[in-house]
Amino acid sequence: MNFWVFLSLLWVSLAHQYYNESLEITPLPRNNLLAQFEFEVKSLPQEIKYHENGTESSTTHYTYFPRSVGPLLENSNTRELHLRFTQGWWDAELWGKVPSDGKKSGGTGVELWAIIEAPSSSQALKHWYKLSKSLSGFFCASLNFIDDSITTFPLSSFAEESFKADEANKLFLIRAALPSEPICTENLTPFLKLLPTRGKAGVSSLLDGHKIFDSLWHSMSIDIKTQCVDDVCNYQMDQSIYAIIDVPRCLRKHEEGAIAKPIQGENLRCDTTKDHDIWKCFPLGLPTELNYDLETIFGRPIRGSCFTDEVSPVKVNFKDGWKIDIKEGLNINTLSSDHPIYEIKGTKPVNIDFNISNTTNIPKIEAAPLIVSRSLTGYSQDKGGFRVSFTNTQDNEVKFIYFESLPWFTRLYLNTLRATVDGKEVDFSDYVHLKHYLPAIDRKRPSHMELEVIIPAHKTLILNYKFDKSLLLYAEYPPDANHGFSVEPAVITVFNDSGKLFELRTTSSLITLPTPDFSMPYNVIILTGTVMSLAFGSVVNLLIKDIITEEEYEKLAAQGKLQKLIAKIRFRIKFVVTTIKNIIFNVKSLIASLVRK
């Protein structure tokens, strides 16, 4: 096997009872690297009981197991917890299978499922919301938005029960996903805080948000299981971070900064077999010779072993074309010819050089046995459809469960389900068996569909189905309503007779719902307000006032009480004046007659 070189790079395995960590770096085509960080923590043995609401857990000591998580699990009676933070598109053609058979990475966004012990499903949901709200605060993710409308109880896709519940209780598997949640440093920091090394030493010291989140695809996962021997149980927590790193991009950013400036003329790599001169350059493909070190890729060196009193063995495999140098601080302890093992000892930082003469010399990619892609069909705002294409790349038939939960505002029509195999429409019941379907209830429950699909070797099955989009209430639209609404990725779980083989997920989809123009109501309110007030004013005037001519008005005005009063007073005054005048006149005439006499 000289033509390929297997490099399972750094392999820190600690023979520790309660804590183990490891890093594996696998070279991939197109100068990509897959970095797999794995951390395992075990809690001390303890008794696990069902806690009613309000009762506090009694355990106070967890050693390596995070103190913050233990009580949370106990209070919410969570027996298994699975949390996924994933971002990016997994290129199955180039990178093959998702690491760990996809069992440790979710779909785009955040995914959470848990096995909760409870006497009834309503009680289980109560525990579930308690769990999700606490995790929301803990991981700075929008897990608090998990509610009835996105929560499902999967049947066959995620089932993996190892815990035995009380006889009075049952175990409930509950799941929810938030496909539009962006994954960011604020999610990584609490993730690292869970580790006993706090990201300060050991392989976790490589985890720098700037570098991990500049990858092509990355996934963080937390799986907590309860393992019991008789009555004594302990929590086992597996944390893992996978990232696909584009090495040339990392190197360029390291040398030139974040902006992709044009390559300097003298650094252009031109195809000399084609026209080329000082003006012309037909670009060559990717470089096959690369030199870099761990610090350039991750931004930091490994800061010693995880604990000072422990010895961390580092396992490195390399063959032709790949030369690995330990730059500093590492004591080579054992170096077997097949699987050389390096050990990280002490607290000195460790850096590793990679000098590769042929980057295409890589281990064989384990091909994904099933390639799935889901796309939206149609264009209208009132209805749409999904088209899912499954391609079996294997020589034998593949059996899997297709789990899909659509939000309530997409009304799925199962009768529109059509299957096509190799371009010909077939009776879908030959390939697809509807295992479970729970229709959505508006605002209360998403639709939940589990299909069992069998695809013969080297065939492509295409499923088509349609849905209606419903109108939301005015206040239900999010602030960025015109961005569209995310539909969570479908989960595909491949089974064989012995059990679950691997998991994979489609990408999420963005559905455009009929969205009102939110500025319009205000325009309408203003306009109608103006019209209404104008109309109101005139109507009121018409109702309470009478239209008459000026003459009529004067006539009417003369009849008024005030006018009457004035007239009366005038009359009185006139009367008095005339009386006085009369008296004066009488007196005058009397005087005159008296004088005459």
């Binding site: 598109w89 044009p262 003329g265 796309s375 939206l376 455009t512």
Partner: protein, 552 residues
């Protein structure tokens, strides 16, 4: 903000563009399939995921999945191998290849980028867009925006950019998208030309120039999808994708080929930054220059007024003649039967003609058939425009019924215009204007029916018309308002060589090729109304002979 960031598609990228171009130049005579294969190899080398769509011709598309992207939204750069002028899209394809490589180096993308190579930007692109939304396995989320890039020849320099934006059926891309592209071009010091404005007039900002672009814009929007060259932006119409065609023009100008790439790059980066889709009301506008537009509130009333004028003349047909309301109501069922049967005949013809055209095998057959159709329609036009020559003695309807028919037809046109107002303003406006002579039929008939008035009107035109023989008037009014007349006039005067033939062919086939409904609007909205009116003239009891004698 658009054009605020520096695009780095410059310096050594120029060498790469030239490198691709010199290779493509050697390959330009290869058939599309082979070209696609070579392009696929190059694009895969740059790290893009390639797939094919096999429609009538095979189309290659390459997806650049945004790193860490949600994979739910995409932008399309479409590069037809053959430009709308029929040349090899050498510069465009080279820019496309180089951009594919350039985009893949950056980690800023939140939306995927799809680069599509199709045979041309007509049917094959339209088919690809349709397949993307119905049958393609490898997709990259909903397409937000698309740029169709054309750059003829191998010159390093060009003068200005021609921007084409008309969609099918009166749809337009969001004005914000056009503004972004225009703004970016402006910052790159590239002039943008609309509606075929020649290079020397691009910088003009006069009233006359703006009016020219405005009127051409209305006509262009009306003819989009049915005249060649198809610019490509039409292909994305109807899928809520904002699309614009950018064509580099000239070979000597101050701008270099990478600037064209920078316009694409910066536009994509602007779209990439958008959190929401293009929405709200910026879909209704008429451009006068890249920076001036007329908004819907200003232009819509004109077509509303035209619709109202038809409704009024329809009323006048009833009120100004001796048709009483009761007789109209009595004859309404007759009117409806006649009109519906005419409409039905039109519907059959409208469906039969495309069917026949698609059944032809050779180009010669097609040519003959289309010529036959044109001749047929023209003959019908001439025959029915001269009703006074073909008066039958037996098959006649009362003048009251004819007036009712005319009235109904005018009302029908009014309704068609009203219906089209928002959907396809240009078509509504132009149909309204073109068939305006139909509103004069009733007064002419009346002047035949009663004594021709010799009174002097205040309008000199009316005065002149009054002195004209009513026969001639009737002929002119009917003849010029027939769709075929407009097609022939537009085809021969506006579209150049072989214009009539091409216009007719594209009009008939555009529904099947591009889902452009202009043919059906014409055949089911305009033509039946014309037919009904001319039948009313033909069969109505108007005394043509006596009136003309009276005139003599």
């Amino acid at each position: 903000m658009p054009s605020q960031v520096t695009s780095y598609f410059r310096e050594s990228e120029w060498n790469i563009v030239r490198g691709y171009r010199s290779e493509l130049k050697k390959l330009q005579h290869l058939p599309t399939e082979e070209l696609n294969q070579i392009a696929e190899e190059w694009l895969t080398d740059s790290g893009l995921k390639t797939s094919y769509h096999h429609g009538d011709s095979s189309s290659l598309y390459a997806i650049m999945h945004a790193s860490r992207g949600e994979d739910t939204e995409a932008m399309v750069l479409s590069i037809p191998w053959k430009t709308s002028d029929g040349h090899f899209n050498l510069g465009g394809a080279s820019i496309g290849m180089a951009l594919g490589k350039y985009f893949n180096r950056m980690s800023i993308w939140s939306k995927n980028i799809i680069i599509v190579f199709t045979e041309d930007s007509h049917k094959s692109l339209r088919q690809w867009v349709e397949a993307y939304h119905t049958s393609l396995d490898k997709t990259a989320g909903s397409i937000e925006a698309a740029i169709i890039l054309e750059y003829n020849g191998e010159s390093d320099h060009f003068d200005y950019i021609e921007m084409w934006y008309e969609g099918l059926n009166g749809q337009l891309p969001n004005l914000d998208f056009l503004n972004t592209a225009a703004q970016i071009a402006y910052h790159e010091n590239i002039h943008v030309s609309l509606q075929n404005t020649p290079g020397e007039k691009v910088t003009l900002n006069t009233y006359k120039q703006r009016l020219k672009v405005f009127v051409k814009g209305i006509i262009g929007l009306c003819l989009s999808g049915i005249v060649k060259p198809i610019n490509g932006a039409e292909s994305f119409s109807g899928w809520s994708i904002q699309a614009v065609t950018l064509k580099a023009r000239g070979i000597k100008g101050p701008n270099d080929i990478t600037q064209m790439g920078r316009v694409v790059d910066s536009t994509f980066r602007s779209v990439n930054n958008l959190l929401e889709k293009f929405h709200q009301s910026f879909f209704f506008y008429l451009l006068m220059s890249p920076r001036y537009f007329v908004s819907i509130g200003t232009y819509l009333p004109s077509a509303v007024l035209i619709a109202v004028s038809y409704a009024l003349s329809s009323l006048s047909c009833l009120l100004n003649t001796n048709v009483s309301i009761s007789s109209f109501l009595n004859s309404i069922s007759q009117v409806l039967i006649i009109f519906t049967s005419i409409e039905f005949a039109c519907f059959l013809t409208a469906n039969l003609l495309p069917f026949l055209i698609f059944r032809t095998v050779t180009d010669d057959d097609k040519n003959n058939l289309v010529t036959l159709i044109i001749v047929g329609f023209s003959t019908l036009n001439i025959v029915l425009s001269t009703p006074f020559l073909w008066k039958s003695k037996y098959l006649r309807i009362s003048s009251k019924l004819s007036y009712s028919l005319i009235s109904f037809s005018l009302f029908f046109i009014s309704m068609v215009i009203t219906m089209l107002l928002i959907l396809n303003f240009s078509l509504a406006l132009l149909i309204g204007l073109m068939s305006l002579p139909l509103t004069f039929i009733q007064p002419i008939l009346k002047s035949i029916d009663i004594q021709p008035s010799k009174s002097i009107e205040s309008f000199p035109l009316m005065n002149y018309l009054n002195t004209m023989k009513p026969h001639l008037k009737l002929f002119i009014c009917l003849f010029v308002s027939n769709p075929i007349f407009i097609i022939i006039v537009t085809g021969s005067s506006y579209l150049g060589d072989n214009g009539v033939y091409n216009l007719m062919t594209n009009l008939i086939t555009s529904w099947n090729d591009l889902q452009c409904w202009t043919w059906y609007i014409v055949m089911l909205g305009w033509f039946p109304a014309w037919l009904t009116i001319s039948f009313a003239c033909l069969l109505g009891k108007f005394d043509f002979i006596t009136s003309s004698k009276k005139l003599q």
